[in-house]
C-alpha cells in the first residue's frame, strides 16, 4: 500500500523533537503523570517482520473514547491521536538503543452539516474518510495492516530488534482553554503502549 510523507513522520534516532516535547514531559511529570494516566487505549494483535525497504507492521489499536471526549468531539473539537513507533536494538547489559522512530498523527473531526466523522491522515491512508459513527472511525484509525516503515540502515535478521508502539490522545492539539482541564482529568489522559520483539 502506498503511503506518503504525510502519513507518518520519521524522526532521527539521536534527536527527538526537543523543545516542546521535552517541556511537555516535564509538564506531565509535574502533574503526577504516573497517577493520572489512564490507559484508555489498548494495543493487540501486533506483528512485525523485516521486509524489503524496512519493517512491516500489523497491529490493532482499541481506541476507546470517554463520554467527555466524545462530547467534545461532537461539539466540533478535532482530536488528534499520536501513534509513535520506535525501533530498538536490544542489549543485554545496557538499555536498548533507539535505532529509528516513526510518528503518525491521525485526526478525527465531527462534521456537523453531514453529521459524519471525518478521519484524516490515518496510518497508511492518504485520503480522508467519512464515517457515520465514531466507532467505525476509531476502528478505521486503529487498524494497521501491512504498514511499511522505512528504516535508515539495513536490518540484520539475526539481530535482536524490539518495537515499541505507543498511542495517546494529543492534548497539545486541543484548544488552549481546554488543555488545563484535559491535563488534569483522567478521562482525557488516554494512552496505550506495547513492546514486542521484531519477527513475532
Amino acid at each position: 500500500m502506498a503511503f506518503t510523507m504525510r502519513a507518518w513522520t520519521s524522526v532521527d534516532a539521536a534527536r527527538g523533537t526537543c523543545g516542546a516535547r521535552g517541556l511537555r514531559l516535564i509538564g506531565w511529570l509535574a502533574l503526577f503523570y504516573a497517577g493520572l494516566a489512564h490507559a484508555g487505549f489498548s494495543i493487540r494483535d501486533v506483528h512485525s517482520a523485516i521486509a524489503d525497504g524496512g519493517l512491516k507492521l500489523d497491529a490493532t489499536l482499541d481506541l476507546h473514547f470517554d463520554d467527555a471526549v466524545v462530547e467534545a468531539l461532537d461539539k466540533g473539537i478535532p482530536l488528534e491521536i499520536v501513534i509513535d513507533v520506535r525501533l530498538l536494538k536490544h542489549r543485554s547489559v545496557w538499555w536498548d538503543s533507539t535505532l529509528d522512530r516513526w510518528e503518525m498523527r491521525p485526526r478525527i473531526q465531527y462534521h456537523a452539516l453531514s453529521g459524519r466523522y471525518v478521519v484524516t491522515a490515518a496510518p497508511g491512508h492518504d485520503e480522508a474518510e467519512n464515517f457515520d459513527t465514531l466507532n467505525e472511525a476509531l476502528a478505521y484509525v486503529g487498524t494497521l495492516k501491512n504498514l511499511l516503515l522505512p528504516v535508515s540502515e539495513k536490518l540484520k535478521p539475526a539481530d535482536d530488534y524490539r518495537l515499541v508502539l505507543t498511542a495517546e490522545l494529543n492534548l497539545e492539539s486541543l484548544p488552549a482553554p481546554l488543555q488545563p482541564l484535559a491535563y488534569v482529568s483522567r478521562k482525557w489522559r488516554l494512552w496505550g503502549s506495547k513492546k514486542w520483539k521484531v519477527g513475532e
Binding site: L113, V118, E127, A128, N130, E172, A176, P177, Y183
Partner: protein, 733 residues
C-alpha cells in the same frame, strides 16, 4: 548556622526580584495563550505550571520572611514590632483594593464571556444547519434517483460497460461514476475530471463496509467531506440479484460551488459556535485562572514590597533604639550609621552629635574630678605636714576635718571627735574649754578673727587661734575653719626677752648708785675708824662692813642680772669638753671636799666647737645648783658625766650633773629654768635660767629629771658645732 545563612539568602531581595520578573513574563505569555494564539497554544499548559509554581515559590519565600519576622517579634528583637505593624498596614492597603478589583474583574469577565452567547444566534445557527442539511438531503435524493436510473440502464450490459457508463454519466450529468463487479474489482469508471487528475488513474473506491452494506440490497447515500469540499456519494446495487453478490454502481457528485460556499460558511459558523459553547466553561475557567494568578502575583509582589520597605524604614529606627539603650547603659561612644537623607537620617545624625557631646562632657567631668582629686590630695598632704593645727567645722559647728598638728597641739585624739559637735571637745578634754568658748563666741560673726587662748593644763599652753568662715554655695554659710599655733614657746621667749630687758635696765640703774655707796662706806671706814673710840669704833666697823658686804652682794646680783640680760656673742672655738669639766671640778674639789665629786667622762667624745667661757659658766652654775641641793644631805655625792650620743652618730654630746639630794619638787620642776624660780632662801634663782639661755644659744637643749630613789639630774645636750644664731628674739644689745 548554614540554615540561617540560607534563610537569609532566601529572604533577601535577589530571589524575590528574579522570581517576580520570571513570573511577570510567564503571566503575560499565558494571557496571550488564552487568546488561542497558535504560538502560545502549545505551551499554554507549561506556562500555567510555571506560573503556579512560581507563585507558590513566591508565597513560600514570603511566608519564610513573615515567619522570620514573627520569630523576631516573639524574641522581642528591637524594631520587629514596628516592622510587623508596618507590614500589616501596607499589606492591608495592598490587599483590599486588589481584592475589590479582582472581584469586579471576575464579574466583568463572566458577564463578558456570557455576552458572546445569544440563544437567538444559537437558534439561528441551528436553523441554518437544518436548512443546509435539508438542501444536502435534497441533492442526495436527486443523485440517488439518477444513480438508480443509471443502475437500471446499465444492468445487463456486458462488455461495453465503460462506454455505456460514460454516456449515462454525461446524460445524467454526474461527476463520477464507477461500476464495481461482484468480485469487488472495478469494471468501469468514468469521470468528469481531466486526464491530469490522479483520481482518473485510481478511482475512488467505496469502503468494504459500504460495499457489503449495498450488496445486501441497501442503498448507500451520504455526504463526504473531502479535501476539495463536500461530495455526494451514492452506491446502489445493480440489478436484482441474490443477496451477497452482484454488481454495484457508485456515483460521486461534488456539491456545486454555489452550494459549496454556502454550506461551508454555515458549517464553519456552526462548528465554531458549537465549539465556543462547549468551551465556554473552560474558557471562563482559563480566564479566571489567569486573572487569579495575576491578582495573586500582584498581591504577593505588594506584600513583598511592603516587607522590603517596612524593613528599610524601620532599620534606622531600630538602630536609634539600640543607640538609646546603649546610652542608657552608660556607653556614650556608640555611633549609628546614617543611611538616608530624610528626617530619619537627620534624627540619626542628631543622635550621634548628642552622644558625642555627652561623651566629651563625660571625659571633661572625669578630668575635672581627677584634677580635684589631685588637688585634694595635695591639700591633705599640705595640711598633714603643716605645723599649724587646722580644724574645720560645718555650719552646725560639727567637727569635719582636722590635721595631725591640731591633734598634737591640743593633745587630744581628734579622730574620735570627727562628726561630733564643738561642745564635745570640751566634754572630752576639759582643758580645751577656753578654746571652745572662744570659738563659740566668734562663731556667729563674719570675717576673720584672732584670739590668744590658754589651754587649762598643768603645763600651760598658749595657742593663737585664727578663725574664718568658709565660703559656701550660693553665699550660704558653710561652716568655719580654725588655724592655731602653739605660741607657748614664743610667749616664753617674749617673756624672757622682756625680762631680760627689764633686768638689763634695772641692773644698769641700780649699779650706778652702788659704787658711790660702797666708796662712801669705805671712805668713812678709812677716815673715821682710827679716830673713834673703841665702842663707837666697833659699831662703825660693823656697820660699814655690813654696808660694804651688802653692797657687794647687790653688785653681784646686779652683775648676774646683767649676765642674764646681756645678749651673748657666741665665739665658738674647738676645745675638749672633758678638759673643761676637769678644770671646773678641780676648782671645786678644794672648796667642797665634803661633797664627793665623781667624774664619768667619755674619752671618745670629739672636740666640740663652742664657746668655752660660756660653757664654763654653765658648769659652774650646774655644780652650784647641785651643791645647793645637797645641803643637809647624808653622804652627798655629785656625779658629772659626759658622753657622746652614739644614737645620733656622735653629732651631739651630753653632759649631765647628778646629785643624790632631795630632787626637784613637783610644783617647781616644770618651771625650774624660769628666772626667780628657786627653793633656796637666798639666791637669785637665775642660775639655771642662765644655763638654759647659754645652752639654747649654742643650739642645744637642757632638761631636768628626778632620779630614783632620790636625787636629780640636769642634762645638757650640745651639738658639736654651735649655732651662731640666737634662739629667742631679742633687741640688739
Amino acid at each position: 548556622m548554614e540554615g540561617r545563612r540560607i534563610t537569609r539568602h532566601l529572604t533577601g531581595i535577589a530571589p524575590l526580584a528574579a522570581l517576580s520578573v520570571v513570573l511577570a513574563l510567564a503571566l503575560a505569555m499565558m494571557a496571550a495563550a488564552t487568546q488561542n494564539s497558535a504560538l502560545f497554544g502549545r505551551v499554554y499548559t507549561l506556562l500555567l505550571i510555571v506560573n503556579v509554581a512560581g507563585i507558590a515559590l513566591l508565597l513560600l519565600l514570603l511566608l519564610l520572611n513573615l515567619h522570620a519576622l514573627i520569630v523576631q517579634r516573639r524574641a522581642r528583637v528591637l524594631g520587629s514590632r514596628l516592622t510587623l505593624r508596618l507590614v500589616g498596614a501596607l499589606s492591608l492597603i495592598a490587599i483590599v483594593p486588589v481584592f475589590v478589583v479582582y472581584l469586579f474583574s471576575l464579574q466583568l469577565l463572566n458577564k463578558g464571556i456570557d455576552s458572546w452567547f445569544d440563544v437567538r444566534i444559537e437558534q439561528a445557527l441551528h436553523d441554518a444547519l437544518s436548512l443546509g442539511r435539508s438542501t444536502l438531503d435534497r441533492l442526495l435524493e436527486d443523485l440517488v434517483r439518477k444513480t438508480q436510473a443509471m443502475a437500471l440502464e446499465i444492468d445487463g450490459v456486458r462488455g461495453r460497460e465503460a462506454t455505456v457508463l460514460n454516456d449515462l454519466r454525461e446524460h445524467y450529468d454526474v461527476f463520477d461514476a464507477t461500476l464495481i463487479g461482484a468480485d469487488g474489482r472495478i469494471v468501469a469508471s468514468t469521470s468528469h475530471r481531466g486526464l491530469g487528475d490522479r483520481a482518473v488513474l485510481v478511482p475512488d473506491r467505496p469502503r468494504e463496509a459500504i460495499l457489503a452494506h449495498v450488496r445486501q440490497g441497501e442503498v448507500y447515500a451520504n455526504v463526504d467531506t473531502t479535501r476539495s469540499g463536500l461530495q455526494l456519494r451514492v452506491v446502489v446495487p445493480v440489478g436484482e440479484r441474490e443477496m451477497g453478490a452482484g454488481r454495484v454502481l457508485q456515483t460521486l457528485q461534488p456539491v456545486g460551488p454555489r452550494y459549496s460556499s454556502l454550506t461551508d460558511s454555515v458549517q464553519s459558523a456552526f462548528a465554531e459556535y458549537e465549539k465556543l459553547v462547549y468551551l465556554r466553561k473552560s474558557l471562563k475557567l482559563g480566564f479566571t485562572l489567569t486573572l487569579t494568578l495575576v491578582a495573586l502575583f500582584t498581591l504577593l509582589l505588594a506584600l513583598w514590597a511592603a516587607l522590603f520597605f517596612a524593613r528599610r524604614l524601620v532599620a534606622p529606627l531600630r538602630d536609634l533604639a539600640e543607640g538609646t539603650q546603649a546610652v542608657a547603659q552608660g556607653n556614650y561612644r556608640k555611633q549609628i550609621p546614617v543611611t538616608s537623607r530624610d528626617e530619619l537620617g537627620l534624627l540619626v545624625q542628631s543622635f550621634n552629635d548628642m552622644t558625642r557631646k555627652i561623651h566629651r562632657a563625660q571625659m571633661q567631668i572625669r578630668r575635672s574630678q581627677r584634677e580635684a582629686e589631685t588637688q585634694r590630695t595635695q591639700l591633705e598632704t599640705v595640711l598633714t605636714h603643716l605645723s599649724s593645727g587646722v580644724l574645720s567645722f560645718d555650719e552646725s559647728l560639727t567637727l569635719h576635718m582636722h590635721n595631725a598638728a591640731a591633734a598634737q597641739i591640743l593633745g587630744v585624739d581628734l579622730d574620735t571627735l570627727v562628726g561630733r559637735p564643738l561642745a564635745a571637745l570640751s566634754q572630752h578634754e576639759p582643758a580645751l574649754a577656753p578654746l571652745v568658748e572662744a570659738v563659740a563666741e566668734h562663731a556667729g560673726r563674719d570675717g576673720e578673727w584672732q584670739r590668744e587662748v590658754t589651754l587649762a593644763r598643768a603645763a600651760r599652753r598658749s595657742i593663737i587661734v585664727r578663725g574664718t568662715r568658709l565660703p559656701g554655695l550660693d553665699d550660704k554659710p558653710a561652716g568655719l575653719v580654725l588655724v592655731f599655733d602653739d605660741v607657748t614657746a614664743l610667749i616664753q621667749a617674749q617673756r624672757d626677752a622682756a625680762w631680760g630687758e627689764v633686768a638689763r635696765r634695772l641692773a644698769h640703774e641700780i649699779k650706778n648708785p652702788l659704787t658711790p655707796i660702797q666708796l662712801s662706806a669705805e671712805r668713812i671706814r678709812q677716815k673715821c675708824l682710827e679716830v673713834l673710840n673703841e665702842r663707837p669704833r666697833e659699831t662703825l666697823d660693823r656697820a660699814t662692813r655690813t654696808i660694804i658686804q651688802q653692797v657687794e652682794a647687790m653688785k653681784t646680783m646686779v652683775n648676774e642680772f646683767s649676765d642674764y640680760a646681756r645678749p651673748l656673742a657666741v665665739q665658738p672655738e674647738p676645745f675638749d669638753l672633758n678638759l673643761l669639766v676637769r678644770d671646773v671640778v678641780d676648782l671645786y674639789e678644794g672648796k667642797h671636799r665634803w661633797v664627793a665629786i665623781e667624774l664619768a667622762l667619755d674619752p671618745t667624745i670629739p672636740m666640740i666647737q663652742s664657746d668655752p667661757r660660756r660653757l664654763r659658766q654653765v658648769m659652774h652654775n650646774l655644780i652650784l645648783n647641785a651643791d645647793d641641793a645637797l645641803a643637809g644631805v647624808d653622804d652627798p655625792r655629785l656625779t658629772v658625766q659626759t658622753r657622746c650620743m652614739k644614737e645620733a652618730d656622735c653629732r651631739f654630746i651630753e653632759l649631765s650633773v647628778r646629785d643624790n639630794g632631795g630632787g626637784f619638787a613637783p610644783t617647781v620642776i616644770d618651771r625650774v629654768f624660769e628666772p626667780y624660780v628657786t627653793t633656796k632662801e637666798k639666791g637669785t634663782g637665775l642660775g639655771l635660767a642662765i644655763v638654759k639661755k647659754i645652752v639654747e644659744e649654742h643650739g642645744g637643749a637642757v632638761w631636768v629629771e628626778n632620779l630614783k630613789p632620790r636625787g636629780a639630774a640636769i642634762t645638757v645636750r650640745l651639738p658639736l658645732r654651735a649655732n651662731a644664731a640666737p634662739v629667742a628674739v631679742r633687741e640688739s644689745a
